[in-house]
């Protein structure tokens, strides 16, 4: 977190995640970066937090802050955690960097009673316009990385994500979008408006009673 962000308070998506978390709960933050979210949750929600982070710098920064973070890879290391080990498992802005988002989503809801997933929305109107007018891949929001540099190998839209949850039988308890000014709005369904104007979305998920495969993949 930059000094300016620190002064201005936490990142808006972190703030949104913090609002969803019950005080004193057990939480695992996957792809926790430098631990900014875990620190916020420990400070404001007295959360018993753990983190997994792939980059050495991120892990070192987190552990220096006194946070419990291990160096690891979400795609291989979640398998070592027992069922329902956490009240919440958080995947913040990391989903597009994962090779097997479906597998990881199911793992989140195996080891956590709830999952909180935030995604950058590739369906934002600026991306659509960029692609339409320039015919080139837009850089992920907030970065200038070109398509061959970005770790976001699987960009998706809000609608894509909602439909994947349906396919996997994952219940969306709460869906919220953040626009470019950091304004927060709830939305319903696949969020036609949210999918156009939301820069990012934060979802609170739980395993649906219907179970996975309750609905057919919808590729429209």
């Amino acid at each position: 977190m930059s000094e300016r962000q620190r002064q201005a308070g936490a990142r808006p998506d972190h703030r949104l995640i913090a609002e969803m978390v019950a005080p004193g709960s057990r939480l695992l933050d996957i792809g926790c970066g430098d631990g900014a979210l875990l620190e916020l949750l420990a400070r404001e929600k007295e959360v018993d937090g753990r983190g997994i982070e792939i980059s050495q710098e991120g892990v070192n920064a987190s552990v220096r802050r006194g946070l419990s973070v291990i160096q690891g890879d979400a795609e291989t290391d979640l398998a070592h955690y027992p069922d329902a080990a956490f009240d919440y498992v958080v995947l913040s802005q990391t989903l597009p960097a994962i090779r097997d988002p479906r597998g990881v989503l199911l793992e989140l809801l195996r080891i956590g009673r709830s999952a909180i997933v935030s995604i950058p929305n590739f369906g934002h109107w600026r991306n659509r316009l960029h692609l339409l007018t320039r015919g080139r891949m837009p850089a992920p929001l907030g970065s200038s990385e070109l398509w061959y540099e970005t770790p976001q190998i699987r960009p998706c839209t809000i609608k894509d994500f909602v439909m994947l949850c349906r396919e996997l039988g994952i219940a969306i308890e709460r869906r919220t979008q953040l626009d470019s000014r950091g304004r927060v709005r709830r939305f319903t369904g696949t969020g036609r408006f949210a999918n156009l104007f939301g820069e990012q979305a934060v979802f609170l998920l739980s395993a649906s009673r219907a179970g996975p495969g309750a609905s057919r993949p919808d590729r429209r």
Partner: protein, 389 residues
């Protein structure tokens, strides 16, 4: 930072050259079935125990270490093995923590071991000394803590064999370990590592001066064998790239090879020096016993072969550290510990420090390791309610 309150109890235990006789009333029941007692444990302390007795840190030394974490060492006059890590303002800050280190059972710096006198015979123990284990070492340390009146350690830490002891501490006495910081270690000794230890032991036993372990009574010392054991082991503490960087093929005080078996190469000269200086401070039989204890270490074996069971229900906060170039206790071994801890949703941090210095990196100036330790310890100290930021 809150100033450490003075403790009258601590003053008694502070200082150099301390030792205590333990197991007089209830002997130490060793894993091999022998009851040992009374026995002597030699130890050092640094810093001051606070009034709550909540700031004690137990540091466990490695194979050839001893209780002299800080120097000057009484035999060599040199710095202690963790001088960089322990002291005022250091990661194990003696202005905040009360640091204890005892000479391991079977050692040769004052703790009962094979070179001490067996009260039953009046002669040095030699190979009559019972074979000890990492768990025996830990039980002996627990008796020392009882003697010092310390119920719970704020932290138990160490590298290599010291890390094994830290793991064993949590498994055996979970409620006595608020945090554990095992560094560059493994939950079991691998076949390769047993093999390397066996080379060292055979070098000692092949020395004619070893005399079936009774060299003291014959007034000799198997220094040749012990030096070779140390030389072989020392290579395993380094890394290929560190050896290359430090020595390459550079020659020692000469411009050409001599077509003989003198130490032509700098690396040979360096190893010979390592071997020779080691024999001045270490006992050959202790080397046999302590390497054996390490070989026997397999924490999961005590728990139906499932390492995670050793940590089930444990509240201890862990920080595991490994080094990229350590091939003796590689990151994979350390990660196995982390995975076992994750499997019981234990509170664990894990950092792999990038270093080309091999296993010995844990003894050296590694800023990433220092920063990790500082952060972990400060965070835990604040939770424990003392000296927090």
């Amino acid at each position: 930072m809150i100033a450490m309150p003075e403790s009258t109890a601590a003053a008694v235990h502070e200082g150099a050259g301390l030792s205590v006789e333990l197991g007089g009333e209830a002997p130490l029941e060793l894993d091999c079935g022998v009851s040992l007692g009374p026995f002597t444990l030699a130890y050092q302390t640094y810093g001051t125990l606070n009034r709550d007795r909540s700031n004690a840190v137990l540091l466990c030394h490695a194979l050839t270490g001893d209780q002299f974490v800080r120097g000057p060492h009484p035999l060599t006059g040199r710095a202690g093995w963790w001088e960089l890590m322990v002291g005022p303002g250091k990661p194990f800050d003696t202005d905040r923590y009360f640091v204890i280190c005892s000479n391991a059972l079977g050692g040769c710096m004052g703790t009962t071991g094979p070179k001490e006198i067996n009260p039953a015979t009046g002669r040095p123990w030699g190979l009559d000394f019972p074979v000890i284990t990492i768990r025996d070492m830990v039980k002996a340390q627990a008796m020392l803590l009882d003697h010092l009146g310390i119920e719970q350690l704020f932290c138990v830490s160490g590298g290599s064999m010291g890390g094994m002891q830290a793991l064993q501490w949590v498994a055996s006495f979970p409620e006595r370990c608020y945090t554990a910081l095992p560094i560059a270690c493994a939950a079991k000794h691998s076949a390769q590592n047993i093999a390397l230890n066996e080379v060292g032991r055979q070098a000692i036993m092949a020395d004619p001066d070893w005399r079936a372990g009774r060299y003291q009574e014959h007034g000799v010392n198997p220094v040749g064998g012990l030096a070779v054991a140390r030389m072989a082991a020392h290579i395993t503490y380094l890394s290929e790239s560190a050896l290359q960087r430090k020595f390459g093929r550079a020659l020692q005080d000469r411009s050409n090879v001599t077509y003989g078996f003198d130490a032509d190469f700098q690396v040979e000269s360096y190893l010979r020096h390592q071997g020779q200086s080691f024999v001045e401070r270490f006992d050959a039989n202790s080397y046999l016993y302590i390497t054996r204890a390490i070989d026997y270490f397999d924490l999961a074996a005590e728990y139906d072969g499932v390492l995670a069971n050793a940590f089930r229900g444990v509240d201890t906060r862990f920080c595991v550290i490994s080094f990229t170039s350590d091939w003796l206790y590689p990151t994979a071994e350390n990660r196995a510990i982390v995975r076992a801890l994750a499997a019981v949703a234990a509170n664990v941090s894990f950092v792999e420090v990038v270093s080309d210095k091999g296993h010995d990196a844990f003894l050296l100036d590694e800023p990433d390791m220092f920063e990790t330790l500082r952060g972990f310890l400060s965070g835990a100290a604040a939770r424990r309610g003392f000296g927090g930021p």
